[in-house]
Symmetry: C2
Subunit: 221 residues, 2 copies
DNA sequence: ACAAAAGTGTTGAGAGTACACCCATGC
DNA sequence: GCATGGGTGTACTCTCAACACTTTTGT
């Protein structure tokens, strides 16, 4: 029996890009330039090309909106409700990316009139089932923060302990004790010393980098 | 721009059905009755129908092979390598089901010549990328066992503490201390008393049921 | 009385939590 | 010398791990 004996749905990838900007957890949204949902905010995404692996499709979207490559990217979940797209049956594979917010220049792409960071505390109404996708990603993000090193991906390669602590405080929306946070991190043996900060207007902090993969399972908090 | 302006891949669901039978972790495989990979073992699966939600497709496969409904089912991951199917571009959404091994009558379905439980320690060569899918599921299974109540889904509604402990020992392939295991479980407050075993040839044990959802996050071990 | 599995407590070690002060630098 | 964030130690609590014997039932 051949493949064409079955009707085929369309397949897209959508990508939830998180970053920390101005001490706030933000997500990147685009304003749609085409129907359906023209002029509404939505997650960046697009059709998977025939010869393109799923992750490559997500990376392509990511790069089109942010110009970034080599960032942390993980497949989240596949959403395939029959009526999630008014054009017909469209199944979407959602990805989550974590990027270092500094040094990103946003560029509006072909399908998007506008590209903007939104605080997760203050989101607009979203197209399709993107609210569902986003709320799922937020759960996953918080959860992965506790059990893995993914949080480090929101920072530059070399970072200070207190910048890392701030990231954790923002994502979990609560404060941690400085001494306990440092003690825990050092005890995990995942940090490598990388010299000192320079040219800051106060006592320079030590810089560290991550020795292990961001996916490594460790209980950070 | 319409959906048909893009070539469309085919979409299937595959399902990894785990059970504990004869004190061993088993997975259900079918022997394929059609090309490609005719006569090779594979995970049960099939094309997603146009008006069918993804999870419904997986439940349909599950029911076709085992006759079971209302079992624990979770979406795992979506595999979409360009060359994973020799017929063309086929993206598959993998699901994992956990079933109580007793009282299952297997039935060969239309696409399958044979249906059989295999020990995860002794698997045959599998069709497509099903070895990758299976190895991913095993990781996820062990991991979910530690952090959630999913393990209970491998048992009947009412179970004894020692049958539960045995499940955990089989999945993690190591032994646990009886007193510590019981203490931990009781301290979680997720068990409800359900009377006693009857007609066993030794001291009857108390029966319990699970008060919470199998997905509830608790550190069991 | 014996076989088979059920059920039960204590102790020691290690991890987590709470808590406050001095230090290095730039201006 | 002062403002800014960097860096450090201790005591208490709680959880986890190790460990062996008595109880109940059927035969």
């Amino acid at each position: 029996m051949g493949l064409r004996d079955y009707e085929q749905p369309s397949v897209t990838t959508d990508i939830v890009i998180f970053s920390i900007i101005d001490d706030d957890l933000k997500v990147l949204l685009i304003k749609r330039g085409v129907e359906p949902f023209k002029d509404q905010w939505a997650l960046p995404g697009g059709f998977v090309r025939m010869g393109e692996a799923l992750e490559d499709s997500a990376r392509r979207e990511l790069s089109e909106e942010t110009g970034l490559e080599n960032v942390y990217l993980e497949q989240l979940y596949t959403f395939g409700d029959v009526k999630r797209d008014p054009r017909g049956r469209v199944i979407t594979i959602a990805y989550m990316a974590l990027v270092d917010g500094k040094n990103i220049k946003l560029k509006a792409s072909t399908d998007a009139k506008e590209v903007k960071w939104f605080s997760v505390k203050n989101l607009p109404k979203l197209a399709f089932d993107h609210e569902k996708i986003l709320s799922y990603s937020l759960k996953r993000l918080r959860w992965k923060f506790e059990y893995t090193c993914v949080g480090f991906s929101l920072l530059p390669k070399k970072f200070t302990i207190s910048s890392l602590q701030k990231i954790y405080e923002i994502v979990h929306n609560k404060e941690f004790d400085k001494r306990n946070f440092r003690k825990k991190l050092f005890s995990l043996g995942i940090l490598k010393e990388e010299g000192m900060e320079e040219d800051v207007g106060y006592r320079p902090a030590k810089l560290y980098s991550l020795k292990c993969s961001p996916d490594k399972v460790v209980e950070i908090i």
